[in-house]
Symmetry: D2
Subunit: 353 residues, 4 copies
């Protein structure tokens, strides 16, 4: 039984990982910390947890972060985990961070990422010396490294869907690497629990909008990982959209095929590529089941279509942004790091209807 | 390990009970039957179940219903289960029926219920001799009878919320029994999986409507059970409304207090009344957490408010119509019938956000 | 051509009245004022108005409110209009106020209203001497008074639906005045444009909750007006609910009939009562068309059902909270005050689907 | 005053054009026809029209179509208008058809279009001799031809958004014509009023799915019109998505720039291109206001972003699928055909919030 501490327990990511850990047979939550909504049991802020988690949320205290636990999960905004990481590691605990703080080993790539968002732009990384030991927390691609890791940067939600959708063909150079376009659609929970004018119900309901057009920070993440796979620089155009659903991300990805290829060949390639990855499911070619096939689960579903008329591959990949795009991936990483079966605590179907 | 057969497996109720049974440690699904969507694995009709339930759905065959199983769960419309019940019981299996067919022991009460719906109005019960052994499947009120039962009428979704909300004060005669008004609001999944003009997305989205005003068949069920509790005839006004959410029922219930009573007294009464019922949770007086506290779970949450100015009690009770209002109650009944812990396979919090 | 000034032009109420005035042939907007979102054209804050209203929003300036205009429309929160009213009237302009500031002629009733809301509780009215000349802005009941009025308190959104639904039977004493229960359901725009945790998209989407149970300030308004009609004190229980739609209010009202009465008699009574009121439409008895019949329009639709079994009348009344519940009523009041046809600028059907 | 007949008056398209014509000062509706929902006043099927359109819907009768009217508007599915067109024209009436029947002058292109949809695939055009006189009803591109036309094929909803978004850069050859990708998102009303399993509320709510991936019939329409503009063959990849909103289409379009170009240059190009087109509005570069800026209006809003890193242009264009994508374009065409001001009856802002 390992002991876990959740920092930022009262955001959507925090409550998500708490819910998962509560049902995990090998992990015990020993402390919950937060910045807002502190001093009361978690269930007083989240009534659905009444009877499930009555542990009090304490105010985040740097002195106590990482103390007496095996793993710290920081479900905190950018630039928080980097303040705590050194101490956590020194205290012998592992760290899984939900923000972009530890997704890049190279400080320059981090800077490129940080540049895209007003809250991080221009600020230097606070723990640049730790970056070299950080691992990108996408087990489907970096399972072996995560097994050895003590410091894991949990991936961005859009990045999970886009990278899993593209990895096999990018690695095999079956598509023109300069031709990739990713059109992303996300539910509103991706913006977190903090209210804002943009995410006010009457503004988002019955509305769809593109935002940060070709300027979203997750594109840096996609490009970094895909470049690593390709062995050469990959650059792509990514445009996210806000969709009036609570949960879910769907990425529709377009890329020019380098040569004619049969859909069966591609389907086989993906099936083999993800053979050891229980949370990636290939859907029948040409079809898209829709978000409901994954919502509430840790699955990434992928569909492939060849547009013969235009020599283009269309990949659709979709996830629950709060599970495979956040807390579920975190638990999957934890399982890999601590030697538990990868599916432990995550083995359930989507929430339908 | 008991063997279960699900009839009507491809409706919302059927897929709901299948999902629950898949995670139940003491039940094994040995057969799935349906009327539409037959001949393929269940997961081909419900992509979220890919990898979880690849059992083929067979066409419903009266000859095989109840054969070689310990329990049959009929997630079928009114007037189907009553055709199968005799044979199921003769074959030694227990039957849990989701329709109104076995919710009433008295054929005349059944007729009063049937009158309210065009699909059942005027038709006689097909197995009137079995009614006397039918048990109303609300464990919070009839736990002992369900323990002995072989034939359980799973309750109507609105009835679950209304009856649990009213039971303690009706039993104690703390409210005027002729003063009860129940204003119900339901998500659209309550209408089932079959498409119709009324439940077409553009018609229901951004819309709210009352329907079957003071004419809904579940009011018979509420009145029957509450009368039993009160020891005298209870009649109430029930008006359901369609709300543009997928899941959830919330009943706001109004009743005149027979005498002044403190909210603490009422809160205590309810707490004691439901002390042995793990799926009823009292919320703090005067507050209503909203559907999200129960969606995806088997809980019925209840809030009480005394309107001193008008000598009236306001009870708000809410459930997930597909769980506590249908498949969850069915599994709870099964647990009670077969001697498993009542919470087995149902012990999880709501789905948030 | 009369000149209108809109104060609070950048909230939902403000932009709503601006949209209506832009299409009114006899009114010219000569000034827009606001507190936030000032200094730019209105269309820069509300892109749908690009090309329709490029007038700059100025910062609210008490010195300039009412200056050189015929009417001031204050779409401002409680306690703002009362600061401006004296000056507006002195300058010879009329005032229509959207808040509760001028809905009551009696300071004590105002205090009872103010007590219900944390933002107004305990604070004295700032212009008590003006209350005696204030008129309640519901033309269906107070048309003659509004015709003469210079100071109109535009009614609360829930109050419009509830009062119009109840007025005929309350006036005729056909129901027990102590038996009235009003179950209200509102879209989220009723909470205004300012974001908050309660109205954050992921919290309200797929959710329904009761709030301020039997404690909502609009109940004072309903009771005051209905008491006036009845000639005796009317007290009722009102429970509002938040529904995940942008617009619309539906009130389901329950009252005990004093004696048996045929539905046709009631239907006739209502039809006659509202004969001269173009914005009240009676629906066929027993049916409810749903919010979509009124959304985007100034109509209040009403349906009646007699629950013979329980001797109770069920009234369902529904409006667009931002039109008949706010800006539409304001324009209707303006038309009456200035002698324009009551329907001018308001004569359009609902927005469907 | 011209006389209009609406065929297919009880679908979303039909009721949409009826609503617009009711407010048009120069058009009088003289007959409504339909296939389902006939024999009663239109308002009995559409309660929001109570008091606005109580004209009875007659059963479609080929003998009477086009009789005694100046224009027939066929809001009918594919393959209906083509049965009526000859007679309508012979009777001296003009015809505006909402389906794909008259969008193509070349029977072979029609066949290519028809191939994409199961309901039209393989069936020959029923009035091939009329195709040569058909005009594509997009006034922004074909205003002069529409002015002379008697037979107008109203454009497909996705095609309107995509073509308006692309026309200026395609005509000027500023993008690689083989590089165009169009990612479309549509509200559910685009599927029409007829219920189906796919558009059942619980299936579409909280869901997003791609469909007919690179196989949608509107892509033929886009390619045909863009090829005409470019003077050479344009082929593109189009993937539509179902989004849980009632109304609205947003197309996010990606194309490789042939050479570096400043955003200001492109913005100028579009502004000039659409200078005489009152219903196309350019938004500030790099931003997207979202569907709410156009819903309920006849506008197509367009935003441009240059992705310098990848040498790509991102165009976002959005419309109300039932207005600019259907009935609004039809009225705009009618205005042009009959010499009325192009904006007559269409000059109103979007519906907000």
């Amino acid at each position: 039984m390992i002991r876990a501490q959740v920092v930022g327990a009262t955001g959507y990511g925090g409550v998500g990982i708490v819910e998962l850990l509560l049902r995990h047979p090998e992990v015990e939550i020993t402390s919950l910390m937060g910045k807002q909504d502190v001093g009361q049991p978690l269930s007083s802020y989240f009534p659905h947890l009444q009877g499930f988690c009555d542990r009090v949320v304490e105010e985040s205290d740097p002195e106590r972060i990482g103390e007496g636990v095996d793993v710290v999960i920081c479900s905190t905004p950018d630039r928080v985990g980097m303040q705590y990481a050194k101490r956590v590691l020194e205290r012998g605990a592992a760290l899984i961070d939900f923000s972009g703080d530890f997704r890049f080993r190279d400080p320059q790539v981090y800077a490129a990422y940080a540049r895209f968002h007003p809250k991080t732009a221009g600020l230097p990384h606070a723990a640049p010396d730790l970056l070299a030991q950080a691992t990108y927390g996408l087990p489907e691609l970096f399972r072996e490294q995560i097994r050895e890791a003590r410091l894991v940067g949990n991936p961005g939600c859009f990045a999970v869907a886009a990278i899993l959708g593209l990895a096999p063909v990018v690695k095999e150079h079956l598509v023109e690497l300069s031709s990739i376009v990713c059109d992303g659609k996300t539910g509103i929970s991706g913006a977190g629990k903090k209210p804002s004018a943009l995410h006010h119900f009457p503004e988002r309901n019955e509305n769809v909008a593109a935002y940060r057009i070709a300027q979203h920070q997750h594109s840096v993440e996609m490009e970094e990982v895909l470049s690593l796979l390709a062995g050469e620089r990959v650059s792509l155009t990514f445009v996210p959209h806000l969709i009036p659903v609570t949960r879910g991300i769907i990425c529709t990805i377009y890329a020019t095929l380098r040569q004619q290829v049969k859909i069966e060949t591609l389907q086989d390639l993906y099936t083999r590529f993800y053979a050891g990855s229980p949370f990636v499911r290939m859907r029948p070619p040409g079809s898209c089941a829709g978000l409901k096939s994954v919502i509430g689960s840790n699955f990434c579903d992928i569909s492939l279509t060849v547009d013969d008329r235009n020599g283009r591959l269309v990949i659709v990949s979709w996830i629950d942004n709060l599970v495979k795009g956040q807390a579920g991936s975190a638990l999957q990483n934890l399982n890999v790091m601590f030697g538990f079966p990868e599916e432990m605590g995550l083995d359930r179907p989507g929430f339908y209807p």
